[in-house]
Amino acid sequence: MPPAKPTRDGRVIAEPWLPRRARRIVMVLAGLYALFVWMDAAGLNLPDKILPLPMRFFLQEAALFPDAARDSIEYRAEGWRCDVERFEEIDVRSFFPIQRDDKESRFYRAMFFHRRQRPVLEALDQFIVAQQNHAHPEARIGGVMLLSLRIPIPPPGTPEGRYQRLPLTDYPQEVERKYWYVTSSKERTRRCEELAAP
């Protein structure tokens, strides 16, 4: 690092280690970065037109919570139990240990981003089945149903109970369920037969 320089007014300035020309270039790039972050949030899509996807990704950071949530969304999974041949809720939180109890869980994020992308849901299906059968060999599954719950939000000012995660069976009828993915019956049978094989 260049030595600090005292000035006539008694201040001692720590000099940057970048040469002056490089500093100017960095300042221009930094200014463009701030401008593009602003443009992206403000809905001016110039950055989208001129920058590649990985660079745009780092600009998409200012438009936070612009819209009201219509409902509170929860993502859940049911597993096809090979022994009793029916779907039952499975708790997948331990298979996704990062931020396992909130919206930042990988399961929640995978469903949030990719709930309409079959290749991702198939990968999720395989992952959950493998994890469940490894962790709970007494309750093996051959497939999954991946769904979301739309829990109505009460009008502003309505006193309500503290949030708690409930089993699927405890949610009342008015909580809408949307099924995004079901392992095919053929695939479930194949996997269950494979698991039953000695």
Binding site: R11, P16, I98, E104, A110, P159
Partner: protein, 306 residues
């Protein structure tokens, strides 16, 4: 013969403003606190590095290269390498915060944070995207010039050398402009969204981000109170460049910003790291110099604390 004084143009004014020396404490505060906040945010992921970066955890398959949900496909790494990346990230972040090998640590920390943000979209949030830029800015600035191990070692080698009191303004100006761009952009996005007509704040209080504070506030604050908070936030954010540009509104803007971030952090669980990150930037950039120096227990600019 005397040289004529240089012509004053908008360009020279801008250059002078950008270069105007800033108290070194602004940069030191950012260097000490920001890496710690970034590491704290990543902590819940770093302790599960294998689930995050290797095939031990769920990985989104390659989506073809043009999907916005996967800005760059980076294949998973072996679990051992995932742990090594996590350890080096922690070491470089702590080193930058301590002001030890600040330049190298800052550069490596920035590169690792960029990798972590791109390697897995599922774990990338606003803080993940801000992190590489902030670490890079700290790397390019003389952030280890004071209040750190590098500075202490330099002073031991050469006790007679003057202790820096200021830095060239560039990096602080960048943080200041960036904050205004971030707030103003966020405000405009909210204006274009539901913030004028919908119950946005209220609507986000009911899911698993809920803390006991947000729950208690949801019960105590009447419906119109949430609307009022919404409009206050909107006015603060949209007009942030004005609030921070005017000298007499600036201290109030700092207080308003800190209040807003405190509420966000306390009401929305994991969002607390974003709130602390923004608060740190706010304090580093805009806290009145007198308060800032008091924070560092430095009475006069020339006092010599290494």
């Amino acid at each position: 013969m005397r040289r004529p004084p240089p012509e004053i143009t908008w360009w020279t004014r801008l250059r002078d403003w950008l270069d105007a020396p800033q108290p070194i404490e602004r940069l030191a505060l950012a260097r000490i606190v920001l890496p710690l906040v970034l590491l704290s945010f990543q902590a819940s992921r770093l302790v599960h590095a294998d689930h995050w970066l290797s095939p031990v955890g769920f990985r989104v398959p390659y989506l073809g290269g043009s999907d916005w949900r996967q800005p760059l496909y980076i294949p998973p790494v072996p679990p051992g390498l995932a742990w090594a990346i996590a350890i080096v990230t922690v070491v470089t972040g702590l080193s930058l915060s301590a002001g030890l090998f600040s330049r190298a640590a800052g550069g490596l920390f920035a590169a690792l944070l960029a990798y972590l943000a791109l390697a897995d979209r599922l774990e990338a949030f606003t803080v993940s995207k801000l992190g590489p830029m902030l670490a890079l800015a700290l790397c390019l600035a003389p952030s280890g010039a004071r209040y750190g191990v590098d500075a202490w070692l330099r002073r031991r080698r050469n006790p007679e050398a003057p202790v820096p009191t200021h830095v060239r303004g560039g990096v602080i100006r960048f943080f200041q402009i960036f904050l205004c761009a971030m707030y103003s952009g966020a405000g405009i996005a909210k204006l274009r969204g539901d913030w004028l007509s919908g119950d946005v704040l209220w609507s986000h209080l009911h899911d698993n981000y809920q803390t006991w504070i947000s729950w208690a506030l949801a019960r105590a604050v009447p419906g119109w109170g949430w609307q009022a908070l919404q409009y206050l936030s909107l006015a603060f954010e949209v007009l942030a460049p004005l609030w921070f540009a005017l000298r007499w509104t600036r201290p109030y803007a700092v207080i308003a910003g800190l209040g807003m971030h405190a509420l966000i952090g306390l009401m929305f669980g994991p969002v607390i790291w974003f709130a602390i990150l923004m608060s740190t930037l706010l304090v580093s950039c805009y806290l009145p110099e007198r308060w800032l120096l008091r924070l560092f227990r430095r009475a006069a600019p020339a006092a010599a604390i290494a």
